[in-house]
């Protein structure tokens, strides 16, 4: 071991709480992100992802708790911290009647970076053909690429990407993933928020699952799934919702970890095959018709349903 001093985490979030008038948006959240990590905040709408990321960005202040970036708090370090953060906000719109190039030039002035940077960014984000188009005339994917491009102008150590692919078609999403993946090779750290499990799985080393302002689970994909479900997922679709409810009560009496969503009942099991047999015979005995039956390996969405009782995107 040659570690002389402990490495400072890039981002530390410590007991952070933020509430709005009528609700707690972020509830005593803790996590640490190391240099070079790509981390996903995965959760449905309203989970508190944007609130956390905007507190890290220094836009809003936590009610309590502490945030450190590169070992520093916001107070007194604004200038430095702004220079190392690359920010892409959720749903930002730029000036409609400016071109891509002009928009980049504006932000390059705001960050006081060199003019060459603008051309680099246009190349990096593949916006070459669109550089003289008005922002107004860009597709959703191109606008998002521009937002990412702007976040790269100051050559940031840390990227904070709030839902960079929400609402985009699969093709555009792919292109953005490629851009973000390429940035990882340059040794940057990233926090990305999303409610697409594929995105978190594809891009990130570490996944933090959130719901209603709380962290449900965190870790890399493998150990998240392993820790929470060896074996597999059983998904039973009943004929009607009352049937599903009856089935749910039955299964709950023999297997505690079970969730219901409309006509579907889910459970995880380390030994799915014997459990399936048992459930089927119980259903038959109680005269509950079953429409469909699945036994498969677990996904992040399954895990989320088991823990939060809802889908990642509803």
């Amino acid at each position: 071991m040659t570690a002389l001093k402990p490495e400072i985490p890039m981002i530390e979030v410590c007991d952070v709480v933020k509430s709005y008038k009528d609700q707690i948006a972020v509830n005593k959240v803790n996590f640490v992100i190391n240099h070079g990590d790509y981390v996903a905040l995965l959760g449905p709408n309203g989970a508190g992802k944007t609130t956390i990321i905007e507190m890290i960005e220094g836009i809003i202040k936590p009610d309590s708790g502490e945030i450190k970036i590169d070992g520093l708090k916001w107070a007194g370090n604004e200038k430095y911290l702004k220079s190392i953060l690359g920010v892409s906000l959720q749903e930002t719109r730029f000036m409609d009647k400016l071109t891509v190039q002009e928009t980049l030039k504006l932000f390059s002035a705001l960050y006081n970076t060199s003019h060459d940077r603008v051309d680099d960014i246009i190349r990096q984000t593949g916006l070459g053909e669109k550089k003289n188009s008005y922002v107004d005339n860009l597709s959703g994917g191109q606008k998002q690429k521009l937002a990412i491009g702007i976040s790269l102008l100051n050559d940031p150590k840390i990227l904070l990407m709030d839902e960079p692919t929400t609402g985009l078609d699969p093709q555009a999403r792919r292109e953005i993933w490629d851009i973000l993946k390429a940035l990882k090779l340059q040794g940057r750290t990233m926090i990305l928020t999303t409610h697409y499990m594929e995105e978190a799985e594809y891009l990130c080393d570490k996944i933090i699952m959130m719901n209603s302002g709380n962290i449900l689970a965190e870790g890399n994909l493998r150990n998240l799934l392993n820790r929470h479900a060896e074996g597999g997922i059983i998904e039973i679709t009943a004929e009607t919702e009352p049937n599903a409810l009856a089935l749910y009560d039955l299964i709950n009496s023999i297997n505690g970890l079970c969730q219901i969503s409309e006509k579907k009942v889910y459970m995880k099991s380390a030994t799915p095959v014997p459990l399936l047999k048992k459930i089927l015979s119980l259903a038959e005995k109680n005269d509950i018709p079953v429409n469909n039956l699945q036994c498969r390996s677990m996904t992040l969405d399954d895990l989320f349903i088991l823990m939060a009782g809802r889908h990642l995107h509803e």
């Binding site: 905007e54 836009i59 953060l85 920010v87 906000l89 730029f94 002009e102 030039k105 705001l110 006081n112």
Partner: protein, 356 residues
Amino acid sequence: MNRTIKQLIVVQMKEYWREPEVLFWTLGFPIMVASVLSLLYSFKPAVNYKAAIIEYHARTDSAIAKRNIPFTDTREIVIPGKSSRKISLERMTMQNAEKAYQSGKIEIIIEIKDGSTVQYYFDPANERTENLYLWIDHTVHENNDGIVSKIAPLSQRGSRYIDYLIPGLIALGIMNATLWGIGWTLIEFRIKKFLRRMIVTPMKKLDFMLSISLTRLLLSIIEAGILIIFAHYVFGVSMQGNPLVFAFVFLSGHVAFSGMSILMASRANNTRVANGLINIITMPMFLLSGVFFNYHSFPDWMITLIQYLPLTVLADSLRNVFLFGGGMANVIFPVSYLLTFGAVFYLLGLKMYRWY
């Protein structure tokens, strides 16, 4: 000027020029209003003339009494052959007559110097008064021999409606450019989260506010410039006072309304609120501040209030310099009022300002 401010001004100007509708409404609209209103005004049947007879002493009185001059007292005279036209004569002192003349209430001053000299004060460049003079003088000579007529040219400034209107439109332009330009832009930037995106850059907030204010100042100057040039060539309206004093008043108006706009925009985060707020602020001033019509016909208690409205102060001061050649001394109080007003609102606005 630093790079941030310069770029911010450049992009706002570009966005402005690239919206043809906006361009039309801000640059074309005042010209249209001026043209339409002055057209309406010129159709108004201004058939009756108004003239002032200067008070004279008893000594001249007796000399005049021997003469047969019909223009010696307050009365109305119907012009023969043109029964619909009348001259209203009013006796007043020379001092009052000059005031009335300059504010357009009378068109000619008739002074009977002694028993044999009549002096006319009017603007020979104005065809209408020229005719009036010719007719009066003809009548005087018709009935009397040996009377000497003298003309004292007296240029009449700002008596026409268009003269009155132009400085008012300039003031109105400043108010609209700032409240819609600055206020609306700030609110729109907030709604689009563009403001949020900008404050995570190292941009200084003061630079941002300055750039927004300077952009609108620049646009207001262009707008007013076009209107002034148009009014000069089309209506022969020209500035009587010192252009520098005029610019100073203009600037103080811009400061006052910029402050107001920033305060107005400090919180609003949707366009309906923005729209309502802007209308609530601009409408009363639009109607009351005498941009289009003199506010002195309102009841006295209202006039007192109206005189404190920033648009009134601005329009009156611009008019003072533009029409009556008022100097720095005449506008220093209103200008200080506007500057103070702007500074207070600006500071309040910044204090309350929600950047995200």
